[in-house]
């Protein structure tokens, strides 16, 4: 894929060229939105909105990392959604069992590569990590999602979030510390090799 050529064509109004970029980046964009928002449906809506917004403003892209530019669009869309939720909080209509616990998503049960036990473990671990991510302040969350989950360079994250590189590093360090503390509460859900030691602290 010649990304530069596609971007130039998209800037000239070529929708097919832009759609080729969408197909290439849609998993990353959707996963970023999912981890920031913690909800599949909202993440899908925000991803669509972000691509639409990106197409409308692609003329303003002046070169550099297109992924970072795209991630800025999606994180801004996520911030807007979180602000909207704050103004008008909603109750999710998740199916629950008799004990008030959420019923496992059928998506996991339908994964053909895992045994039922593995699926259950993976699901629990994902829930634990998502729970800890949800408890992070949004500016920490976006940084940790892009750097640690999406594997983006710190400089790319700095461009995406529009803050200095030093701020990215400090936010990332603080976010990881908070996540570590939170994940210690889910030690039994984590794989044996990832059970974090309790009682260690910087003090």
């Amino acid at each position: 894929m010649n990304e530069q050529a596609l971007i130039q064509d998209a800037q000239a109004g070529n929708l097919d060229a832009f759609n080729a970029l969408v197909l290439h980046y849609q998993d990353s964009v959707f996963n970023t939105a999912l981890r920031i928002l913690g909800d599949d449906d909202l993440a899908a809506d925000v991803t669509q909105e972000a691509f639409l917004s990106a197409f409308r403003s692609i003329a303003s892209f002046r070169g550099g990392s297109f992924k970072a530019w795209l991630m800025r669009t999606v994180t801004n869309a996520c911030y807007d959604e979180l602000r909207r939720q704050k103004r008008r909080p909603t109750v999710p209509l998740e199916p629950e069992n008799d004990d008030g616990e959420e019923i496992d998503s059928p998506r996991w049960l339908a994964d053909p590569d895992m045994t039922p036990e593995q699926k259950a473990e993976a699901d629990e671990m994902e829930h634990a990590i998502q729970h800890c991510l949800d408890n992070l302040p949004v500016e920490f969350k976006s940084v940790v999602v892009m750097a640690d989950l999406q594997g983006m360079d710190y400089s790319e994250v700095a461009i995406a979030v529009r803050v200095p590189l030093g701020t990215i590093k400090s936010r990332l360090a603080r976010a990881r510390l908070r996540l570590r503390e939170c994940l210690q509460g889910f030690a039994e859900l984590l794989p044996a090799s990832f059970r974090l030691e309790e009682g260690t602290s910087l003090g």
Partner: protein, 213 residues
Amino acid sequence: MNRRDLELLSSDSARLESRLASDPGLRAVLDDLRETRSLLRRLPARKAPRNFTLTRKMVEKNPPMPRAYPAFRLVTALATLLLFFTVGLNALAPQLASPAPLYGMGGGGGADPEVFSAQAPATEPAAATEAPAAEAPAEILPLPTEMPPAEDSERIAETPAPKNGIDEQPAGRAGKPAPLVPVTWQALLAGIVVIGALLMLLLRQSAISRWRR
């Protein structure tokens, strides 16, 4: 440590390494942080639930605008703001320019200029004659003692100086005061607003027609 961690700690990595070697607690925290990051990376990357490709119908309401469009929008918006500001400033100009004694205390505002000019010399010499009578030292009351002595007051009453001062005032009140921002500037701003708006409209129409084709 991987490359990115070294980048994070490049400034004093040697000092950190020695501290890590001597402080097992710190080493444990660092290991925990690494494991936390590894754990985050184990999160399964989800496939997008559907394709997010855009259709023509989705984007036809707001097709992509040319690069120059945001610049025109900014310039037009700034010119509009400036135009409103200058109009407001000029509207307030007469109130800002008017002297306080005429419209404020003393009730002089409504007085006929001729009456005012006749009264003015009479009051000033009175104030001037009182100053030497008080025999105040020049250092303590510099302003009154600098007034002309009593014998000069008659000359003051005859001099046209106060009249000149008053003559300027009715001229300012009778005619319209000059605007703070020249009208030519306002016309220039109005021109920029109109031309900018027209160009934006043209750009928008051409983008829409090109998009439909």
